[in-house]
Amino acid sequence: MRRPWRWLVPLAALPVLALLAYGFRLNPRDIPSPLVGRPAAPFALTSFDGAPVELAALRGKVVVVNFWASWCYPACYEEAPVLERGWQAYRDRGVVVLGIDIQDKDEAGRKFIADFGLTFPNAPDRGGRVSVDYGVYGVPETFFIDRDGHVRVKHVGAVTEPAFRDAVERLLAAGPGAVR
């Protein structure tokens, strides 16, 4: 008996496999933040070095607010060097990187900063008020704030070099006073 159609049997599985492959293009956790486009919540913290860290004082600059913790592996460990390099590259062009260490022990936070040689301001968020204001769900999360103090981009997970550059360049290009 010759039944050439039997070779169609394996093909029946292809649509299902294709659908599953399509799933890789999606991110089910990709939930848009309601904060984007809104004024960034003000905060005033004291850095690990004892210097004041105040958002309102930075109006007119592009501010990158990064929430991290020393226990956050691997994402915070991956992005720490990226943030430091970004800060070095853009600090002269009116960009400020601020690190906010949440739910952490001071000692562990200081070790993290020393291990990575971070030079941008880092402050502990005692009592977790700032992370609540920013709706931080898990670390790391990074908010890019434009010169008028509006949140423009929210990045969940480790910040990569291109993601940092794209967001910062966009906000720098928008210029001062360009409220959209």
Partner: protein, 648 residues
């Protein structure tokens, strides 16, 4: 040093597994026993290496070796000893280690048991087992490397996901994975049968016991998962039709179908193609489940982190499905049925119907699980499919299956006469109908609830009728009742083991029906010394206290049950505050009972401890579900005992 040693061990294991798979296949093809022997040694070596890797990982956890990234991510200095061991499989990478180790163990048992008995099939069985094993070791080294070095080495680790600090996390993954990996053995035999063309009944009788064992562990894994969900998550339920629960449930459904259809093949030489397809489907669904849990494609409470691992799993799934189906197509002509269905009113037809329904249930669960993906692909919409859909389609299917559970084991093979039907079913039908009428008269639940309960009684009566008749036959030969029953169970252990498993399913079904129908809950705010009342229970709030545990802070409420059988019971639900978590974790306290569980979840509380909000639930008959697990264990044990009929 551990990261380097571990990685090295795994690389050698990978090379050995690939070598073994290839050599076994070549040995099978050319008929060279020496090559097969070498593959056998490779299998032993892989198992030894995987054992070493597992022990190394456990050692790293016990010694807080934070230079291993996986250890740093899943434990901290405060993690208690006990949970440092379960943390080994608490996240993605380690779960694959456990998985692969179990697969290695199964491979070892296959070598020990079947190297002389499985004849022509054996080399190919070995090749498939080692091939699958090689894939999992590959996953452990490339997309989910467990021994990655952490630099700089942190002072303390992140800590285990607090929800996993529970005894259920020792047993749930172990049982579940023993189930999942166990289906590799029947699959390997099926592929071997297809490759060699020996698609007769030998492979299926050989793997029957394997299928039962894997099926049992999967059932147990599902039940323990339900228990974990019930007493840890604090929502008072045990099943949510979450994608990952579905992923474990689907292979269970197809494996259940297989356990039944195998009997038709043994008895009537029918369904060869169907059984092969079921084995392939079951194994593919276990892979699909792993893919779903670990790829991040579908959102789920259980999901592990994402990464490239999903691509690996999908690729492997595609290879497995396409190769298996191509082999089936190749052997299509010899897979044709030899027996024919004589009558619609017969046992084989009841089994067929059972299979159709189980596969239909599998399909609806699959459809509901991937529907969000489909909707997004076709219409760009984000949708989620909830419990109502799954319940609506599956409840009628499951009720029909319960009905068939009564009919199938008693109805005659080939063609049931009217006489046979009357003799077997008149009594049980009367019991069922009378029970339904009585339940309605007493106002027990809705029509659906009364019907379901009556149905379970019908099935129980069927089992009782059969047992009674068999015991009576032996008593007629001069045996006394109890020894007769014991002898029956042991001599026909396969049949009666199956009956006990059916009883277990009935017990679970009653538990599900009861808990869905009669559970009640309330949420209330109480000042110290005040009482709340629910379903006749009065519960008093005594006070709050704060404590510091090794790795978290804890606020505990004390409540006393004032009346009824539970009078005097003190319940202490709590909220646990872990430094690494954004929100507090509820710690449920409960008192289990055969009918009523009293179940408390602590909500918000005043800072000064004078008042609390508490969720009080009285959950009904949930314990029957766990009880069903015990009966299931007994039934399975009975049915896998060596058959003694011939010796008798």
């Amino acid at each position: 040093m551990i990261p380097e040693i571990g990685t090295g061990v795994l690389l050698v294991a990978l090379a050995l597994a690939v070598y073994g798979a290839v050599v076994a296949a070549v040995g099978g093809r050319r008929g060279r026993p020496a090559l097969v022997q070498s593959a056998q040694h490779a299998a032993l070596g892989v198992f030894a290496l995987l054992t070493a890797a597992l022990l190394l990982l456990i050692y790293a956890f016990l010694t807080f070796d934070f230079s291993v990234r996986y250890v740093a991510s899943n434990t901290n200095l405060g993690t208690p000893f006990y949970y440092r061991i379960t943390a080994v499989w608490g996240a993605l990478e380690g779960s694959i280690v456990l998985w692969a180790w179990m697969l290695g163990l199964y491979t070892l048992i296959v070598v020990l048991r079947h190297r002389t008995t499985a004849r022509e099939l054996y080399p190919w069985v070995l090749a498939v087992m080692l091939g699958v094993l090689a894939f999992f070791v590959l996953v452990m080294t490339v997309p989910a490397p467990v021994f990655t070095r952490m630099a700089p080495v942190p002072a303390d680790g992140r800590g285990l996901n607090p929800l996993l600090e529970d005894s259920g996390m020792i047993t749930h993954p172990v049982a579940l994975y023993l189930g999942f990996t166990g289906f590799t053995v029947p699959f390997a035999f099926a592929i071997a049968a297809l490759v060699t063309g020996r698609v007769g009944d030998f492979w299926i009788t050989t793997t029957r016991r394997w299928t039962i064992v894997a099926w049992y562990f999967l059932s147990l894994g599902l039940l323990i998962g339900g228990w974990w969900s019930y007493h840890v998550l604090g929502w008072g339920g045990y099943w949510a039709w979450d994608p990952v629960e579905n992923a474990a449930f689907m292979p269970w459904l197809t494996a259940t179908a297989l356990l039944h259809s195998v009997m038709v093949q043994e008895r009537r030489r029918m369904l060869r193609l169907w059984n092969l397809a079921l084995v392939v489907l079951t194994f593919s669904l276990t892979l699909f489940g792993t893919f779903l849990t670990r790829s991040g494609v579908i959102a789920s409470v259980h999901a592990f982190t994402q990464g490239t691992i999903g691509v690996f799993f999908l690729g492997f799934l595609a290879v497995v499905v396409l190769v298996a189906l191509a082999l089936i197509a190749w052997r299509w002509d010899v897979l044709g049925a030899q027996g024919e269905l004589d009558s619609v009113i017969s046992r084989e037809s009841a089994f067929l119907l059972n299979n159709v329904m189980l596969v239909a249930a599998t399909f609806t669960v699959f459809f509901g699980t991937v529907f969000p993906l489909l909707a997004e692909a076709v219409r760009g919409e984000k949708v989620s499919v909830g419990a109502p859909f799954f319940n609506q389609v599956n409840v009628p299917l499951f009720l029909s299956l319960i009905f068939l559970m009564g009919v199938g084991p008693l109805i005659a093979w080939r063609r049931a006469s009217l006489e046979n039907l009357k003799r077997n079913f008149l009594g049980p039908v009367i019991v069922g109908v009378a029970a339904a009428a009585l339940f309605r008269l007493l106002g027990v639940g809705s029509v659906l609830v009364a019907g379901s309960l009556a149905l379970t009684l019908f099935v129980a009566a069927c089992i009782a009728v059969d047992l009674f008749r068999a015991v009576r036959a032996r008593r007629a030969m001069g045996e006394r009742a109890l020894p007769a029953l014991g002898g029956l169970l042991l001599r026909h252990n396969r049949r009666y083991g199956g009956f006990v498993v059916h009883l277990a399913v009935l017990v679970v079904a009653v538990g599900v029906t009861g808990s869905q129908t009669w559970s009640v809950h309330t949420e209330t705010t109480l000042k110290q010394g005040e009482q709340a009342e629910l379903a006749g229970y009065r519960i008093r709030f005594e006070g709050l206290r704060e404590s510091q545990e090794s790795n978290h802070g804890k606020v505990t409420g004390t409540f006393t049950v004032l009346n009824g059988k539970a009078a005097g019971t003190v319940l202490e639900p709590a909220k646990k505050f872990y430094p690494q978590e954004q929100s507090p974790i509820a710690y449920v306290d409960y008192r289990l009972g055969l009918i009523d569980d009293i179940y408390l979840v602590l909500g918000d509380f005043a800072r000064d401890g004078t008042s609390v909000t508490v969720k009080i639930q009285v959950n009904r008959m949930v314990s029957w579900i766990w009880l069903g697990g015990v009966v299931l264990t007994l039934g399975t044990l009975l049915s896998v005992l060596p058959e003694r009929r011939k010796a008798a």
